[in-house]
């Protein structure tokens, strides 16, 4: 089968890239070894967060946030996006100091989307927060979406624009011969002018086939969700320095994260949970929000996520091959970046340039460093 562009990986980055390319009239095939949205993009915490991003990521994340606000309309699909604001809670004076310093950095870079809150404002926004909390920082545009719905929304919109999705197709080899990429899966052969590597936790293997080495690692961030609770928290909640992260969805269930990692076995598509670490996330949640003591955990899980040493993604052209591009390594905060990644990748594939400075995301940024 032939297409102008072959995208490896049907997560949100792959689906969004397919959507933007197909919409511009480029023929696209997405090769996915399982099914679209099976991994990180379908099972993540759904956080759509601009707050607290690495300064290098802020321009992309800001643009993505604008796209999220109207994404349902753009795609003609339900992504489950709700703008709810996100508040990072400051528990002590050290946290307040951290926030002040950050505020200065952001302001001198010209970013004004992060707003400090005093104790009173915090209590008004989150009446159930522990009274000892001192304040916080918030970003108004932030919220959440339903991960699998959002990924499927991009996939469906891409299909409507003409993209083809081949699921259950695991890549086994890829090589450039003259002006074409020859791609082989377990069942078929594909040919394209361009390849885009959106293979998530497996992207280092795909990068190697392209000819790029990358210090990617993978891990299994864990989540747990409760049965419905009476609504007690409108905004999404995080903390400046503690492993606290939760959101109460419109249906009343509360998703608790916090970054604790389980055990990842990517060869077998499997993750195992570390209950002691999850229990400590439960402790933190109750400490900050005593109302949660009565909650019942309904499900716990983990997803396979790709991490870079600096927690910044790889976005941009391949270093050692023509007509190959990468978008992976989002280090547990890539769901929010999906919409803009799709746009940037399409721009790069079609015109070779995009609206953003991608220096911080180069694949060869660690080449001369010893890690």
């Amino acid at each position: 089968m032939n297409a102008d562009v072959l995208i490896i990986g049907g997560g949100i980055q792959g689906c969004a890239t397919a959507y933007h390319l197909a919409k511009s009239g480029v023929s696209v095939i997405v090769l996915e070894k399982d099914y679209a949205g099976r991994h990180a993009s379908g099972v993540n915490a759904g956080g759509v967060r601009l707050l607290g991003r690495d300064i290098a990521e802020v321009p992309l994340s800001k643009a993505s946030m604008q796209m999220w606000q109207g994404l349902d309309k753009t795609l003609g699909e339900d992504t489950g996006f709700r703008r709810r604001s996100l508040i990072n809670i400051a528990a002590d004076d050290a946290d307040i100091e951290t926030l002040r310093a950050r505020q200065q950095v952001m302001q001198s870079a010209g970013h004004s989307h992060e707003r400090l809150m005093d104790q009173q404002e915090l209590r008004e926004a989150l009446p159930h927060v522990h009274p000892s909390c001192l304040g916080g920082v918030t970003s108004d545009l932030d919220g959440y979406a339903i991960p699998y719905k959002a990924t499927l929304a991009f996939k469906r919109a891409a299909i409507r624009a003409g993209a083809r999705f081949m699921e259950g197709e695991e890549l086994i080899s890829m090589r450039r011969v003259g002006p074409v990429w020859l791609v082989q899966t377990r069942t078929a052969d594909y040919e394209g002018d361009t390849v885009v590597n959106c293979a998530g936790a497996w992207a280092d293997k795909v990068a190697t086939m392209i000819g790029d080495q990358v210090p990617l690692s993978h891990a299994a961030p864990m989540l747990m969700i409760t049965t419905r609770l009476p609504h007690f928290a409108g905004p999404v909640v995080g903390a400046v320095s503690r492993q606290l992260s939760f959101k109460q969805f419109a249906n009343g269930t509360v998703l608790i994260g916090g970054g604790a990692k389980g055990f990842a076995d990517r060869a077998r598509n499997e993750t195992r949970l570390d209950y002691a670490k999850l229990a400590s996330a439960a402790r933190t949640a109750i400490e900050f929000f005593p109302i949660m003591a009565g909650a019942s955990i309904n499900r716990m899980w983990a997803g396979l996520e790709a991490y870079m040493p600096d927690n910044l993604p790889v976005i941009g052209p391949a270093a050692n091959a023509d007509r190959a591009f990468h978008a992976f390594g989002y280090s547990a905060h890539g769901f929010q970046m999906g919409p803009i990644t799709g746009k940037v990748m399409a721009d790069l594939v079609i015109g070779g340039i995009c609206d953003f400075d991608l220096t911080a995301f180069r694949i060869d940024r660690f080449d001369r460093k010893t890690l």
């Binding site: 209590r123 927060v129 009274p131 049965t227 419905r228 009476p230 007690f232 109302i291 009565g294 019942s296």
Partner: protein, 103 residues
Amino acid sequence: MFTSLRRPSSSTVMVTINGQSVPAHAGQTVWAAMALAGQTVTRQAALSGEDRSAFCAMGVCFECMVEIDGQPNQQACLRRVTEGMTIQTQNITEHSGAQNHGL
């Protein structure tokens, strides 16, 4: 209509089911106490708010979730009555708000 064929037993406890004070046999399941008291609605369904009642009586369906002593999501068919227990039909739907206004 549920009825009891229990042989006479000495030990009874008092429990409160939806505000009604009723005697129950010590060691009896909460669901049995509810059924015999004619209080068969265990919970309201989360989306529609429709009444639900125990279905499997063996712990697999979770239809019998009630509030016991203020703690929600208790399976009435598995929990056993104790003296002074307060049992309440569980009403947590998508639209419920937290009762107190915070701390």
